[in-house]
């Protein structure tokens, strides 16, 4: 699917004629060596809607900052809502960065060097988005630094804040050499040396990133798991960590690579180019498959234990959390555990389906849905379910400001990926694998 090929020649001619020559030359000079890109006017048209979406989200964010969080539909029952779900979801999906980095630099899976740049880029987008969302979500953003200055060491959120920030710094360090490898920047000797030397020591950052990710992914799970006043979220502990601590880390490592693969499929579809060789897909898919399968077993055990022990000890039959309301039903468990759990696991574990691009794509899409539903349940369903016997379910729908600010990171991600792909050597195999023009 080469988008450039679908544009009528007459339109192409008009577009070329309207683009100033010096801009075309300047743009071309920034492309990675030996790689073809879509004409500048087409790239501009591609970015246009995403910039519009980002502007819409920006306006909504400014409204939330300026007029306070009454711009949202959050309420005293839903202190955590769609933003926090988006936050947890993007962090889980961005887990491909730390896990791929771990596999590439620490476990020695050398093939992954062909996708690691892209994984880091996606991780960078996901984590910067998460920090942006948190910056909008808190009621007093200017006091955000209190979480570091007045840190409560008993709070899982403190651990999240510290590890998230540190890991974002690590991701920035991992992404920086890629930026410096831009064709023009690389001509500056200092930048060339910096990016070269960064690559040399990247294993250290990858290991640091994996360590930090273990804790912040886990502590995000702990945020829900320690809530002993909320039987739907609460889990038993191993030492000081609830089971959700380990499940969140595990699921991020399992599903994060799925998102990396899905994004790669999308960018290949849009550009009409092969950017990553099949063996990389197969390797990462295989690892993700086994991770999802083992996660599925652990999560199923956790769910059964919770349903049989944790919930009843707190006076609840597990079905109470899936009934008596207009939205939350057993279907959530089915989507999360079966459709988003065992199905993608099996599709990725079996060689025949894994090496079929259609089924691999189906598997990673289902995986992304599965982990997103899990995060939804651990945020919004926790808030929705009543705890006091005489309390009631509270359902909620987001305001347009919440939807817009949630879409802002999506637009930002597309824009950053587009710019990075156009001007940076994100995919080392691009020249080797493909020919043909693309956007």
């Amino acid at each position: 699917m080469d988008i450039t090929a679908r544009i009528p020649q007459s339109v192409s001619r008009i577009g070329d004629a309207l683009t100033p020559r010096f801009l075309v030359d300047a743009d071309k000079a920034l492309w990675p060596k030996g790689c073809e890109r879509a004409p500048l006017w087409m790239f501009g048209m591609w970015l246009g809607p995403w910039l519009f979406l980002a502007a819409w989200g920006g306006i909504a964010a400014i409204l939330c900052w300026g007029l306070a969080l009454n711009q949202t539909n959050m309420n005293d029952y839903y202190g955590f809502a769609i933003w926090i779900w988006a936050d947890l979801a993007v962090i889980a999906l961005g887990g491909g960065a730390f896990f791929s980095g771990f596999l590439r630099y620490v476990a020695g899976k050398d093939k992954l060097k062909n996708i690691i740049n892209y994984a880091v880029l996606i991780g960078f987008i996901c984590y910067s988005s998460a920090l942006l969302i948190l910056g909008i979500d808190v009621g007093q953003p200017l006091r955000g630094w209190f979480i570091f200055w007045h840190a409560n060491v008993h709070s899982m959120l403190t651990e999240v804040a510290f590890c998230l920030t540190c890991y974002f710094i690590v991701l920035t360090i991992e992404y920086a050499p890629l930026v410096l490898e831009n064709r023009q920047l690389d001509r500056v000797p200092l930048f060339h040396k910096i990016s070269h030397n960064f690559h040399e020591i990247m294993a250290v950052f990858a290991a640091t990133g994996a360590f930090l990710s273990f804790f912040h992914q886990g502590s995000l799970g702990g945020v829900a798991g320690v809530l002993f006043g909320r039987p739907f979220a609460y889990r038993e502990h191993i030492f000081i960590w609830p089971y959700t601590f380990f499940l969140f880390t595990w699921s991020a490592a399992a599903y994060g690579p799925c998102f990396t693969l899905l994004c790669t499929r999308i960018i290949e579809g849009i550009t009409g180019k092969r950017l990553v060789s099949n063996d990389v897909y197969h390797l990462l898919g295989k690892i993700a498959g086994w991770m999802i399968l083992t996660y599925f077993i652990a999560k199923t055990w956790d769910t059964v234990y919770w349903a049989m022990n944790t919930a009843p000890e707190r006076g609840f039959h597990w079905r109470e959390f899936y009934s008596d309301n207009a939205f939350y039903g057993v279907w959530i468990l089915v989507v999360e555990l079966l459709l988003g759990g065992i199905v993608p696991a099996l599709l990725l574990v079996f060689k025949k389906t894994r090496e079929n691009m259609f089924w691999l794509t189906v598997a990673v899409v289902l995986g992304v849905i599965g982990v997103s539903v899990n995060r939804w349940a651990m945020v919004l369903q926790v808030m929705a379910a009543p705890v006091m016997p005489f309390d009631q379910w509270a359902l909620y729908y987001p305001s347009w400001q919440e939807v817009a600010t949630t879409l802002l990171p999506v637009a930002y991600g597309v824009i950053l990926i587009s710019l990075s792909y156009r001007y940076l050597p994100v995919f080392p195999q691009e020249r080797e694998l493909g020919a043909g023009k693309a956007s």
Binding site: L69, N70, D76, I240, G315
Partner: protein, 278 residues
């Protein structure tokens, strides 16, 4: 958090709490009004949206769920429970989760405080509280014309974007302790321990039926102590105490079995909320 070393509790100096007699509560809402006036709680033009209005003290209407003529109704005032927390770890649900120590537990009074200037509005404590006793300031605080003249100078008004909740009228405790220390320094009293009448919450004073009793749960001279340890011994109950172990400091009393049963979760529900609560 649980696990690790066993929690060692520091002895209390005083432990303030409430006993609410639900047989006496008529659901008039005077406690709610008194609370709002005393604590400078802002008012919205439309207070009917209870998911966004601030009611430190909220009165629930419960029903036994049976059809007429067996229908029975009970009004249940719910302030912050000032939980002592699970005995295994000693943290109340909200205090342990606040990332910036904007809410704290005092072993001097047993009161869970909220530090308004420290809170940055993450709302994690709201998610942690099973009683939904914490409220977020979704708007800048506003009062109808002229009502600002009536604001209490002893209570700071809260800005938008932070969480607030019942403080057991902590400013009254501070005022009483100031007086007590002064009198003790002047030789006017032997110690600084507060007499029951020296520190009372606004809701307890405002209740026309005398349903709310407030005092030191550790002081045998206080009525709350006598109610729990003598008058209603083994009959006073606390909401969600049996299943969640939050150890609230608000006790309830009712002669109706279904009301006591409604205080905690059971696999078979015995009561539910009815429309008409405040």
């Amino acid at each position: 958090m649980s696990g690790g070393k066993e929690h060692v509790e520091i002895p209390y100096q005083t432990k303030f709490g409430m006993v609410i007699n639900l047989d006496k509560c008529t659901g008039c809402g005077a406690c709610m009004v008194a609370c709002m006036a005393e604590n400078n709680v802002p008012v919205r033009y439309d207070e009917s949206d209870k998911l966004r209005s601030i009611t430190w003290m909220r009165v629930y209407k419960l029903t036994n769920g049976k059809p007429f003529p067996e229908t029975d109704v009970c009004w249940l005032p719910r302030p912050c429970m000032h939980c002592e927390g699970n005995p295994a770890h000693g943290f109340s649900p909200c205090v342990s989760v606040c990332p910036a120590v904007a809410t704290d537990y005092s072993r001097q009074t047993g009161i869970v405080s909220q530090i308004y200037t420290r809170c940055f509005g993450c709302r994690y404590c709201m998610g942690a509280c099973p009683y939904k006793a914490r409220y977020f300031n979704w708007w800048d605080p506003k009062w109808p014309d002229g009502m600002k003249q009536y604001l209490s100078p002893d209570v700071s008004c809260r800005m938008r974007g932070i969480v607030e909740k019942c403080s057991f009228c902590f400013h009254r405790y501070q005022r009483a302790m100031d007086k007590s220390f002064y009198q003790a320094s002047q030789g006017g009293r032997e110690d600084t321990r507060l007499l029951e009448e020296e520190y009372q919450t606004a809701c307890a004073q405002a209740c026309p039926a005398g349903a709310i009793t407030f005092g030191d749960l550790l002081n045998p001279e206080h009525t709350v102590y006598k109610l729990i340890h003598a008058t209603y011994k083994d009959k006073a109950f606390r909401i969600l105490e049996k299943t969640l172990g939050t150890r609230p400091k608000v006790y309830y009393v009712s002669s109706k079995d279904w009301v006591e049963a409604a205080a905690d979760n059971h696999t078979k529900k015995v009561a539910k909320a009815a429309p008409g609560g405040h």
